[in-house]
Symmetry: C2
Subunit: 513 residues, 2 copies
Amino acid sequence: MNGAEALLGSLAASGIEICFMNPGTTEIHLVEALDRVARLRGVGCLFEGVASGAADGYARMTGKPASTLFHLGPGLSNALANLHNACRARVAMVNIVGDHATFHRPFDPPLAADIEAIARPYSQWLKTSRIAGTVGLEGAEAVAAARAAPGRIATLIVPSDVAWGDGGTIAAAVPALVPAVPAPSRIEEAARLLRDGAQTAILLGSHTTQGRALVAAGRIAAATGARLLAPFAFAGMERGAGRPNVERVPYITDQALALLAEFRQLILVGAAEPVAFFGHPSRPSRLMAEGCRIIELATPEEDCAGALAALVDALDASRTAPQLQRAGLLHLPQGQITLEGIARAVAAVIPENGIVVDESITSGRGMMAATRGAAPHDYLVNTGGSIGIGVPLAVGAAIAAPDRPVLCLEGDGSFMYTLQALWTAARENLAITTVIFSNRTYQILKTELAALGTNPGPRAEAALDIAPPAIDIVPLSKSLGVPAVRVTNLEEFAAAMRRGLASRAPNLIEVPV
Amino acid sequence: MNGAEALLGSLAASGIEICFMNPGTTEIHLVEALDRVARLRGVGCLFEGVASGAADGYARMTGKPASTLFHLGPGLSNALANLHNACRARVAMVNIVGDHATFHRPFDPPLAADIEAIARPYSQWLKTSRIAGTVGLEGAEAVAAARAAPGRIATLIVPSDVAWGDGGTIAAAVPALVPAVPAPSRIEEAARLLRDGAQTAILLGSHTTQGRALVAAGRIAAATGARLLAPFAFAGMERGAGRPNVERVPYITDQALALLAEFRQLILVGAAEPVAFFGHPSRPSRLMAEGCRIIELATPEEDCAGALAALVDALDASRTAPQLQRAGLLHLPQGQITLEGIARAVAAVIPENGIVVDESITSGRGMMAATRGAAPHDYLVNTGGSIGIGVPLAVGAAIAAPDRPVLCLEGDGSFMYTLQALWTAARENLAITTVIFSNRTYQILKTELAALGTNPGPRAEAALDIAPPAIDIVPLSKSLGVPAVRVTNLEEFAAAMRRGLASRAPNLIEVPV
């Protein structure tokens, strides 16, 4: 058995089911081995940033890693921006990066690069394989490293002679580190804070806004009066009617300061203290009020769900019912397209058990509030601030959960970084309704420019426009295999989303804003 | 004056005229300063890989650097793949990368990253600015570093408080290092080799396939019988009727071995010994015949053009006329589209003083041979093997040489990595005729797969297809603002290219192959 088959077989034996891939010549033996490893399915991507974003979305929905396959240093480079987001989302991912044959690399051919140096900033585990005999085990180790809580990026570099070399063996799964529950003293400290009556917030990071962790947090909030918060850049949240309500810290610094001003105590659960998204000449970086007491219930690497369960016990709250969000009275809005109307229309059409991916930036400012009482759904956002993750994330989520309709809300500027993701959605016939908000500008930057108070000139203004030429979204989408419509009022918008979500196939809606 | 204006003013004072940009919030003061630095023009790009590829094309045509502007680590990450190509092309480029304010960075906000680590693999000069007072000088130093022979990538990281800080001053240009002519003993050694009668090749790297260096090489070849070669991955070449002929080392290893077998001596001029593009289980990495004597006339960092001039003198060849390529008898081919017909059609329509950018991969295999006797033109190719540089390179070349029509030959697979470049071509109304060869597969990989001799399975085959869905290139191009047509025979192809090149505006031709 060659190294390629041993590696893919070992990934499959460790539970890897998907490989988002954009291979080249140095990976050809890995491609060839796909037919001999039935449990590992390749999903083609036309650009590597689609693959890394999709692997992130897959991990967010399944809690387990997908693999990726990239072509040497440049292929990995194209994946980095969405690896940045994946690192911030603390998800599991296993990247396989091909390299030149070990005997060929010293000749410094054109595609040679220091792949380890390129991988290191966004890899928590990194190794270069040397012989076919061990590459299977290294694959299993990569999966185990990726699965260590809360989820890590593992990158294995595979020279082509390792892939084609003989003597490979399929390795059994390597157990992942089991995260520790924080020491009882930390649980007790948090319980004391929650009992003392001061206004307290619990900031939920590292996948605690879902599943049993979220229910436990809801019990704690109900029992103590604490408020549940999520960082602005959270990874994923179960929300809507019947779920505990978690407030997102706003992006706008002044709004975040206003929300957080009332809290005298903050309990961090796998999250860092909230800070402004960007530094500002006259606004603080730290967002909590002066003198707010901050304690860390659990680090991201600890068992955050276990810590919340222990805290429930310490508070004797295991029979306390969490306060659950009630279903909203969701009316379909009508008439002219407004940002408020868009948010209400989305809230009204989110299907039961749907998945919302939100990279709508300025066009979606009211989206979180409006959708609070929508049908229960998962909500995924851009966690690292590198725009261009929306449609790739939707692709990964749709592959992870093929029975759940995905609604992807995307700004036109962000969309254009990774528009190739539509092609993968079409190729895999994924149930994704992509909504493109077409304002033909990097509006978030226009706002920043205006806020400088310097009366910006025409060149600065033009530098932030993405027209002319106006990008014609509908034919663009169709050209990549995804049917598309443009809507001109809120009724059409809602109807198009309903049709799209019901179709169980990829489709796109352009919304001029 | 704030740091932003000081930096842009200093870049302009050092001769930088263009900034290919995709800014964000941390760069907003640099955007705002654009209106106060009239000599520096911003060119908007929807994706950073377009900007880095365009800066490469600009540098290849002008011999001087453009600047780029990127948004923190992720923005720079998206630029890396074409920075890889630019490093291999040994061109000058100045990257400006915004970062968080220095006081904000320690709080590790979502977009924070180790930008220096991300930049280092593809930056020969790298610095992070710390105060507004020195950022102007650092900009001038970056330009000087970039201009050091043969051309380098310089990256300056600019925290946002450096950009908005007061006390900036515009720095005068800093002189670039003047490259040294190699020692007379090295010139003499090469002259002795060339006089001794053994079959000798001269491999021309580092911008010696153009201008006075090419003419000198032509004199040397005519005087001595040596053959002029260029590496497969060359940066740019002046060729066609009236220019000395330079043969490109083929991509296919067996063809390269066949071409190079006859040479007993090889003189390197700013180039490395030719090696196979990829290592292979049963083929050599080194391409020269066993026992071939290899000497280095000049390193890339030395004055390669000066070395060739000195060699002309040493050979007493200054009055020897170079053997110049004669104009070919170029007939427009007719009928069905074939790869041979495509190459002949291109050769027939290349306009006098045109620029050809060739990333046609398998569809353009015969292109170099067919265009040898075409009208005089510049020919640019992918120098680092990271596909997705074609249209960005054309954008940069067209901005560098607005009076010269650009013909960009592009494979559909490569095109899809950086298709956003069409939008910049439309926005700037650039005289680029882009030809997309639509074979709907990564054909080069299909060939590799077939060569394994393992009877590839359906999953491997499918992994190398880029259909279904078939990408509909014509509406895709139109949606990005570039008029497009599809041709079905060679007459239509040639006519469409002629119309397109005459239009002096962006246009695209899809050629099914």
